[in-house]
């Protein structure tokens, strides 16, 4: 039972590489026909975290950004988890209002699978960084640019096919999602500050009361 599940997941995982090259067909199939697509997505998310940490820790001296001795692995994990989570929630909230066909689960899976280029390209980049001199550093930048373009393309194409949207509509909803995330951050900050005020108010009242009783 578990063995077949694992086999299905692994097969779906490998299908992800196919989806990287044929996103429209690939993401549609992942949504509708592939079994164990959620575990596969989680595995990709974990792999992305590992690869990003690897990139920060194991890049050659010449291409290190910042000081690897100061990197915080937990912070790096949060820096991957939170954007993916928030994006999935907010994008679903937006697209349900725009007749999207995807559930939050579908959006999460699509987002995770579209991170696959990072896993594919960052590992060779880390290895190559040990063999390049500073003058050849443009190769590193090309890889970085390639990863960004590829991930964004996969995300847009994947969402379009999963939501049954046109490309323009996908871009519009994505922009709205980003704006909504900014609004969300603002609201959280306001909420945080309000809670702070509330707590300090009650603690002051409590202090006053204790002085009064004494």
């Amino acid at each position: 039972m578990i063995k077949t599940k694992l086999k299905d997941m692994f097969s779906t995982l490998l299908y992800g590489f196919h989806a990287c090259i044929h996103p429209f067909e690939g993401f549609y199939n992942i949504k509708h026909f592939r079994k164990q697509n959620l575990p596969a997505a989680v595995v990709i998310l974990l792999a992305t975290m590992v690869v990003i940490i690897l990139k920060m820790q194991a890049t050659g001296f010449l291409f290190q950004v910042g000081n690897p001795e100061r990197n915080n692995v937990l912070l790096q994990v949060v820096a991957v988890l939170v954007p993916v989570g928030v994006w999935s929630v907010v994008n679903w909230s937006v697209t349900t209002l725009f007749e999207g066909k995807a559930t939050m689960r579908n959006i999460f899976i699509t987002t995770c699978f579209s991170l696959l280029p990072m896993v594919i390209l960052y590992i060779p980049q880390v290895i190559l960084s040990h063999f390049f001199t500073e003058e050849e550093g443009s190769f590193m930048m090309i890889i970085d640019a390639l990863v960004i373009i590829w991930v964004v393309w996969l995300l847009l194409a994947g969402l379009a096919s999963v939501q049954d949207y046109t490309m323009v509509k996908t871009i519009v909803t994505s922009v709205v999602t980003i704006l909504a995330i900014i609004a969300l951050i603002f609201l959280l900050a306001v909420f945080y500050s309000a809670i702070q005020q509330l707590v300090s108010f009650f603690s002051t009242v409590f202090n006053e009361l204790t002085y009064w009783i004494r």
């Binding site: 490998l14 299908y15 196919h18």
Partner: protein, 476 residues
């Protein structure tokens, strides 16, 4: 009991002797992330003139000093005189003072002189409140007066107040005037005006520009106008380059060539920012160059002295705000002797503090001198000594890296450059190392390649089936 007393006495003498080496300030340097990291002290205050053991010399608002050989020329502004001290000993001797003299107009006197400059046999004094320069010989005899130059672009009511003066080997005179924003006034040896030299650029404040866009004509006039910053001090080195300082956020120190362009190297870690690089920018008031071309930059905001080498690498930071010997309230001028002592005058404390290089500082200066000349091999041992005393000193690693790179010891060079966080050196060393490595590994690479080709040839039928197998697994 006797033993205990002995130990106590020993401890007491120890503390007393140690107190001579006590540093009244923290010493640090900047690492590759431009954070301040602790460093051993390069310079420590040794004694002071005008206080402590040397109260026999009393100064009032000393605002400039220049050292030539054993003699120290101090512009004792508050006492309206120039003081010439013999500073070869720890207790300085007053050689002579110049306050009154006989000129063409009869009895004459200096009025708040605030700048001195010695070149050859001549002593130039910026006689600030008399709006003129006065030239003496080093014996103190009056030679001539250089009156206010004729400057056509100046309005009639502009007051000429020369505050600092510098003279190069060809007799060209450079004058810094109070609130002169056009640049340094350059005069011919006879005192005729040549040009404004090394003019500062106007720094455009974008916030101010944006604000002016919305303001009316009248309101715009109320705002401060964009004017270039004025120079605060100048020094001419032995190669006739003019070092000038000004109050700004960047490029506070300039090395000006004859066409007035800044040629100071700014590709080191701290770039073109002098003084402390974080928070409020330093208020650089003076600069001096020592025998081996190191720059000592004096910051009056934090009372600190920054020592840079010719390439702009920060070697030492010392001094601070305070009232102890070696700390300052209003430092005004700095100069150093040939034997490496650093003199700093303070116009509020009315003293001149004298710093001497510590064991560590001497080693750094020694290694740096060889490093600047390009004698990396010889500097190696000294850098190692430096690192024993201060492992945070990155320039030492870089210097050792250069030495290893020269001898072809690339792996060691790579290690040193990585310790010193010097990417350019690392890259150069790596390029060499890689070529060597590839050459050594070439037979192995070819062998492995050959084996792979042979294996592929043998198992090519099995290999050809792999894509189909994967496809079957993924797409059942």
């Amino acid at each position: 009991m006797k033993k205990v007393l002995c130990i106590l006495a020993a401890a007491l003498t120890l503390t007393v002797t140690c107190s001579a080496a006590y540093s009244p300030y923290y010493t640090y340097n900047y690492n590759s992330d431009l954070e301040a990291v602790s460093s051993a002290a390069s310079y420590l205050p040794s004694y002071s003139i005008g206080s402590g053991e040397n109260t026999h010399i009393s100064l009032k608002t000393p605002s400039d000093l220049e050292i030539e050989g054993d003699l120290c020329y101090v512009a004792d502004t508050g006492n309206n005189r120039i003081v010439i001290l013999d500073v070869s000993q720890r207790r300085p001797e007053m050689v002579r003072q110049i306050s009154t003299f006989t000129s063409e107009q009869g009895e004459d006197a200096l009025k708040q002189p605030s700048g001195v400059c010695v070149i050859g046999n001549e002593l130039y004094v910026a006689d600030t409140e008399n709006h003129r320069l006065v030239v003496f010989d080093t014996e103190g005899n009056f030679l001539r007066i250089i009156a206010q130059p004729q400057i056509d672009t100046w309005a009639v009511d502009v007051e000429y107040k020369p505050s600092k003066v510098g003279v190069d080997g060809n007799g060209r005179i450079y004058v810094v005037g109070l609130s002169v924003t056009e640049g340094i006034i350059q005069l011919e040896p006879d005192g005729t005006f040549v040009r404004f030299f090394g003019s500062n650029r106007v720094v455009v404040d974008f916030y101010e520009l944006a604000l002016r866009f919305f303001l009316s004509k009248e309101a715009q006039k109320m705002r401060i106008s964009f004017i270039p910053v004025e120079y605060s001090n100048i020094t001419v080195d032995k190669d006739n380059f003019v070092y000038a300082t000004c109050k700004a956020d960047t490029n506070q120190v300039k090395k000006l060539n004859t066409s007035g362009n800044n040629i100071l190297r700014t590709d080191a870690r701290t770039k073109n920012v002098y003084g402390d690089i974080h928070y409020q920018s330093a208020n650089i008031v003076d600069v001096t160059v020592d025998q081996s071309g190191n720059l000592f930059v004096l910051d009056s905001r934090r009372g600190k002295i920054f020592q840079y080498n010719e390439l702009g690498d920060l070697l030492a930071i010392f001094g601070g705000n305070g009232t102890a010997v070696g700390t300052f309230t209003t430092p005004t001028a700095i100069d150093c002797t040939e034997d490496g002592r650093v003199f700093v005058s303070d116009s509020a404390k009315n003293t001149i503090a004298v710093f001497e290089a510590t064991d560590f500082g001497t080693l750094v200066n020694e290694a740096n001198a060889k490093f600047i000349k390009g004698d990396y091999q010889e500097s190696m041992e000294t850098w190692k000594q430096v690192l024993k005393r201060n492992a945070n000193f990155d320039l030492a690693y870089i210097g050792m890296g250069h030495a290893y790179l020269q001898t072809g010891d690339y792996e060691q060079a790579l290690e040193c450059y990585e310790m010193g966080k010097y990417k350019k050196g690392y890259s150069d060393a790596y390029a060499e190392h890689r070529t060597k490595l590839l050459g050594d590994a070439f037979p192995w690479i070819m062998t492995v390649l050959l084996i792979v080709v042979i294996l592929w040839f043998i198992f090519r039928k099995q290999i050809a089936k792999i894509p189909a197998k994967i496809k079957a697994f993924v797409d059942p």
